[in-house]
């Protein structure tokens, strides 16, 4: 499976580089060599035991290495019909950042840069060079190496020192193609000291072909910065999504990540929060609602490198039919990371006998003065609670719905944008009722 991509790179690497930025090309050949060595991660690897990508990888995807633009304007196609969420709205079409129109760019505070990574790398090379690849280059992961080999562009966001965005930034990834298509994009997000930003990433598909998206996102949260990263996946069964989200935190930074999967095909989210400062707060949340053949594997890693920081992790899955879920929660506390507190919870409900959940908490603690805990459960809906509700006249189906909704409530409560929280609750309720359609447009805006 790897061979066709290896041959492809050998043949077209000049063209790939020609349509990308020098800073991205700097590590491209090294990444390619790494990919040649590692190949695609298979289920034989411990960390990929429950992610079987052989079926989606057997499909032949088109790649847009010539960076052809599409003929649609997403600002026209995606009209906001719930104006409750005021956001700075941006689009990535397949793997290309859509040129920002003037209305989207206006009102951005001075010094804030939101651009295509390629353009940013050419316009602000010193800034981009300082960060780009600094987290991902170190990784020995086949998907990251593959991304760095083929990604030619992506999303770039820079928030200068002490600038606080008053509105969230919304990034919509749209997959649009007439043939089976693969997109690789590399995103870079930088918050300088004291900066504050909220990013909402929505993954959507527009066509019923097979899509494969491989997204690599590096986030640098400077001292005292506050960053919130929300990801909503509402795609369809033909969609495969591999995402690597690497977050670096400096002293006293506060980062929240909340990853929500409502509809998808096969999804693998790798999330790493590297706490490289003292007095940091890190909150990593997520939830999955799966039915049919949906398959979601969230592989998370929180690394405490310095003392006196707190992290909390909360993941919930509701799985029906023959859907599959996996969760891995690795927490590493380095020897000198004393006074760390880290709490992890993963709770799962299986609604059918054929749904499968695998959960693996993994704590590696090398410091001796820490507070850490973890807990994982897999169960069914609470029968006593269901009967209690029925005894008040609530129908069984409604009682089940209320319980499932309640089960996900604490993940929802970790959305700090109120309008988004309300909207998300509505989407989850519709999803649980089976009323939420798969990707007929942007569900959030």
């Amino acid at each position: 499976m790897e061979q066709q991509y290896i041959d492809f790179y050998k043949e077209y690497h000049t063209l790939i580089k020609q349509h990308s930025a020098a800073l991205m090309n700097n590590f491209r050949d090294a990444a390619f060599e790494k990919f040649e060595r590692l190949g695609f991660p298979t289920s034989k690897l411990e960390n990929y035991k429950y992610t079987d990508m052989s079926a989606p990888l057997s499909i032949e995807y088109g790649l847009n290495i010539n960076r052809l633009q599409f003929q649609i304007n997403p600002y026209d196609v995606f009209k906001c019909d719930v104006p409750a969420i005021h956001s700075y709205l941006f689009f990535v079409l397949n793997d290309t950042f859509y040129p920002v129109n003037s209305t989207a760019k206006q009102h951005l505070p001075e010094g804030v840069i939101i651009e295509s990574l390629r353009t940013a790398a050419e316009t602000y090379p010193q800034l981009v060079e300082k960060y780009l690849g600094k987290l991902s280059n170190e990784k020995d992961d086949g998907w990251i190496a593959f991304n760095e080999t083929f990604a030619q562009d992506g999303f770039f966001m820079y928030i200068p020192k002490n600038v606080q965005l008053s509105k969230p930034v919304q990034l919509i990834n749209i997959m649009r193609s007439d043939v089976d298509f693969m997109a690789n994009s590399h995103n870079l997000i930088i918050l300088e000291e004291g900066a504050k930003a909220q990013l909402l990433v929505c993954d959507h598909t527009m066509d019923h072909v097979h899509f494969f998206a491989n997204r690599l996102t590096e986030v640098f949260a400077g001292k005292n910065s506050v960053y919130e990263h929300y990801k909503l996946e509402n795609t369809n069964v033909l969609n495969t999504n591999v995402s690597n989200l690497l977050i670096h935190q400096e002293d006293s930074s506060n980062v929240l990540t909340n990853v929500i999967s409502l509809h998808n095909g096969v999804t693998r989210n790798n999330i790493e929060m590297l706490i490289d400062g003292e007095n940091c707060e890190s909150l990593l949340c997520g939830m999955v609602i799966g039915d049919k053949n949906q398959d979601v594997d969230n592989f998370t890693e929180i690394v405490h490198k310095k003392p006196n920081s707190q992290s909390r992790e909360l993941f919930k899955y509701v799985l029906d039919d023959t859907s599959k879920g996996a969760f891995a929660g690795k927490i590493q506390v380095a020897k000198n990371a004393q006074k760390t507190s880290s709490f992890q919870t993963n709770k799962n409900i299986l609604l059918s006998k054929t749904a499968k959940m695998r959960t693996k908490p993994q704590l590696e603690i090398y410091a001796d003065d820490v507070k850490c805990s973890h807990g994982a459960t897999i169960g069914q809906l609470d029968e006593a609670a269901k009967f209690y509700m029925q005894s008040r006249g609530i129908s069984e189906s409604e009682a089940r719905l209320l319980l499932m909704f309640a089960f996900t409530a604490d993940v929802m409560d970790n959305i700090r944008i109120n309008a988004l929280k309300d909207r998300m609750k509505l989407l989850v309720e519709k999803r649980l009722r089976g009323e939420l359609s798969r990707c007929e447009g942007c569900m959030i805006c």
Binding site: D382, A385, M389
Partner: protein, 254 residues
């Protein structure tokens, strides 16, 4: 209103109810007393349709309908209400959402329009006063973090919201201090009407100082073994249950 005939029921294959006969008319208050393990709560569960209990024999007629064929939610919509001995905590489901769903599903069953938000909140406020329930409680998740007394008060609040025809109070007095007991009993009395009835299951006589029963039944070994008026409760309080046990266990032919 309610007619139970020769009811036998078991839990996990063990027979708990061994031939219960009981008739309740509109306007009446019945008390069931008896020692632990006699099957009092099991009777309450059968009436409310708890799937943990299997009815093996007998029939229950409620306002002309076969109760045993109904789902728990339909029994509730027909007017059966069980105040749980151990109310269930439901984290993440707010009291308001829970009650609104319940009230509106009951209304739907009766072909009534759902209550508007304003009307619903007005109703909540009115019924909360009845049981002197703290505002804070209704803004929380159902029973979550409630004290024992608050949970029981919440049961009576729900009963007030749903206005059942037959209220079954299963050990509503257990775990209540004397003030809470008075408030709960007061709530029950205020809800009493000539067209509804109550079945009060209790261990002790003290609740019956506040809720005066028309009939007192003594439950023992899965059956009603003695029926009397409110004075029977006083007698039990004084003498305990042992004399009843002796009376029952003495073979009749002797």
């Amino acid at each position: 209103m309610l007619e139970i005939k020769n009811l036998h029921a078991s839990i996990n294959g063990k027979e708990i109810l061994k031939g219960v006969n009981l008739t309740i008319q509109a306007g009446e208050i019945h008390a069931i007393m008896g020692p632990n393990g006699a099957g009092k709560s099991t009777l309450a569960w059968v009436l409310s349709g708890n799937p943990a209990v299997e009815v093996t024999h007998g029939e229950i007629n409620f306002n002309g309908k076969n109760l045993l064929e109904m789902s728990p939610e339909d029994r509730s919509r027909e007017g059966i209400f069980l105040s749980f001995q151990y109310p269930v905590e439901i984290p993440g489901v707010s009291m308001v959402n829970f009650m609104r769903t319940a009230v509106n599903e009951q209304r739907k069953y009766k072909n009534l329009e759902p209550l508007s938000a304003a009307d619903f909140l007005r109703l909540m406020r009115e019924k909360k006063e009845l049981v002197e329930m703290d505002n804070k409680l209704t803004s929380r998740s159902v029973n979550e973090g409630f004290s024992g007394g608050e949970k029981k008060r919440n049961e009576i609040f729900q009963m007030a919201m749903l206005e059942p025809k037959l209220a079954i109070l299963d050990e509503t007095d257990s775990g209540l201090d004397i003030d809470a007991l008075r408030i709960v009993a007061n709530g029950v009395n205020k809800l009493k009407r000539p067209d509804n009835a109550a079945l009060v299951i209790t261990h002790y006589q003290r609740l019956l100082d506040y809720i005066i029963p028309d009939f007192v039944h003594v439950f023992y070994d899965g059956r009603i073994v003695k029926t009397g008026d409110k004075n029977l409760a006083l007698e039990l309080e004084e003498k305990g249950y042992d004399w009843i046990k002796k009376e029952v266990e003495t073979p009749i032919e002797q």
